[in-house]
Symmetry: C2
Subunit: 411 residues, 2 copies
């Protein structure tokens, strides 16, 4: 048999999806698996998007322009304008989700064996996109014990080498909920300019920023026109992850022209996803406000519940819809598997995303899990009870010196 590629072997299993076979098995045994592993909201898709799909009036479902439908790109300009982001439609390439926007940006900005800096923990698939484009991820670590505050900017600078091509930030951050302050962004900008790097800013959770934090887009930073790439997606905003409609936005024409060649190769984004995405941008204020309030309420609920479980620590995220929690276990992946394979409580169990997959280095995140609060509070309550009981029965439970008191006290 011919051998599989090295990059295929190195490619990680998604920590978000690797336990799916175990969950399927648990389901087949009659257990109800509550899925906290994946950012798949239960919130109804914007009715504007659904109506556009049901009213589709074309006879031929055809390719669109490789850069995306012009009407969608122009509609996104309006959307950005409402968020004080000034771009032209030519600055926007429609991609197949935010995923493709990142992959194409990496292909455009870097060669094999180049390096990209990413604060960790990070959205696990960044590592996958880097592996598939032969780019090396160099992490700047933040820690749950510190509430995931960003390390000093000097830590970024220390890791820059001849091979560094750019920095990826996720703002608000998945999985930590960190929202970048103006000071942090300006420090990152200065480094980007000093070393002539690209700055990729994944802003797909822009709508979900809590506690009065100010959201600042990379496109609002001065002096970065040739360096900044905004990664976007309509998936989370309108609760329509299946659309696969995202965007790569940049003022850098050479970068855009190059990225377009990669877009041409895959012909076009999905037709219906673009039609529905364009309609979704007109979602009502009531819908958007309702979604926001629901996430905020769920966040408050799950963070409180987690911190009430003995031995569990969960800092307050300021944005997005995930929490990272530290568990009193030997290994959070083993625990997550055990919950699916061995555990049930009143017929229920839970599926978690093991934390180590959100870090590069072995060891970091080994006691952590990511939980997505994309299910309703009744379900979250059942899930938290499962977690509490599971932790009390899990054979690998260990007591750790908890950072809970000091961090929570500081709030």
């Amino acid at each position: 048999m011919p051998r599989i590629s090295k990059r295929g072997t190195l490619m990680p299993n998604s920590p978000i999806r690797k336990l799916v076979p175990l969950a399927e098995e648990a389901t087949s045994k009659g257990r109800n698996v509550i899925r906290l592993n994946i950012g798949q909201p239960d919130i109804p898709t914007s009715d504007k998007a659904l109506a556009a799909i049901r009213n589709l009036d074309t006879k031929v479902l055809e390719y669109s322009h490789s850069a995306g439908m012009e009407s969608l790109r122009r509609k996104m300009v309006e959307y950005y304008k409402r968020h004080n982001i000034g771009v032209n439609y030519e600055d926007i390439l429609i991609t197949i989700g935010g995923s493709e926007a990142i992959t194409i940006t990496l292909l455009t900005c870097s060669n094999g064996d180049d390096e990209i800096l990413v604060p960790e923990p990070f959205y696990a698939n960044y590592y996958s996109f880097a592996t598939s484009t032969d780019v090396n991820v160099v992490a700047i670590s933040s820690h749950i014990e510190d509430g995931f505050v960003l390390p000093p900017i000097s830590e970024f600078e220390k890791k820059i080498t001849e091979k560094t091509r750019g920095i990826i930030i996720c703002n608000p951050n998945n999985p930590t909920g960190h929202v970048y302050s103006r000071k942090e962004l300006e420090q990152i900008r200065d480094i980007v300019l000093k070393y002539d790097l690209f700055l990729l800013s994944d802003e797909v959770y822009r709508e979900f920023v809590y506690d009065g934090e100010e959201f600042i887009s990379v496109m609002q930073l001065e002096g970065l026109d040739q360096h900044a790439i905004l990664i976007d997606s309509l998936s989370k905003r309108y609760s329509a992850t299946g659309l696969r409609t995202g965007a790569l936005v940049t003022k850098n024409k050479q970068l855009r022209d190059t990225a377009l060649k990669f877009c041409q190769a895959r012909l076009s984004p999905p037709y219906v996803g673009q039609i529905a995405g364009e309609a979704a941008i007109d979602s009502s204020k009531e819908y958007m406000d309702g979604v926001y309030e629901e996430y905020l309420s769920r966040r408050n609920f799950i963070v409180k519940a987690l911190n009430e479980i003995p031995g569990v620590f969960c800092p307050y995220p300021k944005g997005a819809f995930y929490v990272m929690a530290k568990l009193p276990v030997d290994d959070a992946e083993k625990f997550s598997m055990w919950m699916l394979e061995e555990f049930e409580y009143n017929g229920n169990t839970i599926m978690l995303a093991p934390g180590a997959g959100f870090y590069t280095e072995g060891g970091l995140g080994r006691q952590e899990v990511r939980l997505a609060y994309v299910i309703n509070k009744e379900q979250i309550a059942i899930a938290m009870k499962c977690l509490e009981v599971g932790l009390s029965k899990y054979p690998g439970r260990i007591e750790t010196a908890s950072a809970k008191k000091s961090v929570l006290a500081a709030k």
Copy 2:
């Protein structure tokens, strides 16, 4: 400004789409541009697919399984069974069009700087997929003067090196219309086994085989379970290119498991594309037969018309819906640009895909163009008149020793 990547610079502009800006300009001047450049059929999408979209009854447009919806995969098993191809649903990974299936296969089978053999002329985007995965395309040339008969199998063997990881064939071939004979496929199989290579067979035009030729799938060849990868797409079959629903099919479990990791990274294929694709597989025999007859009739019409234009030569394609034609011009790309920039006839002009982009080597295909017969015969007739008049006025016209007589006489 940070520099663009080498692979971004090397990435070719799609010959199928590179002239789009000139076409847009011609349109803005009021000219009617008849598009022969791209395989975008005017044929209505299967009504089963459209009905499934309009009847969508979900409240949340969610991610599907990264491997695709199980119901779609099972439906494809039925489809393949009708075509005497025996696979299980586990053998099928749903991809975002055939494009993604090829990219993921290259990532799974090869590392940077590895080589892949491809008979040329080939679907131009193979070169793009190879460039984006840092794989080198090694071509085995066939020639329009010979009616694109495949070179002897010894030509394949000569090009195999330590770095060769696989062979890509497109059957029926885009752009030549070549349909691989059993003898050719068995010879390729023997080489694949002898050198332990992967064999990628792009069979998206399976439905469109003419003149009683027999279509044989790579999945029907014995002994290739660990080597064969079927690349498929629902786009052309059901006239629904905007769905972006394709498949990577293989019996090789290790390859599939590795490919699934790349699928997980991009989360899932489009939701609506899968729902509509599943419905499309139940398209009526009347629809499928009607589409077939229409393409057959268009093929006969365009080949005859092309060969009647002085100095033009076009061999008969046996499958798919493209023709390659040799034109009496200095450079077919220059001619194609001239047609958009300088020419009109009764307010019309045509957009062609320059042939050189379907070959690797400089020079080959320079007098050729690819034309897609995906528009109706009335439009084709107007397009052929434009071509005839355009060729008679084009300043770079040259008379070439035509191979027309010998090849056509041999039929």
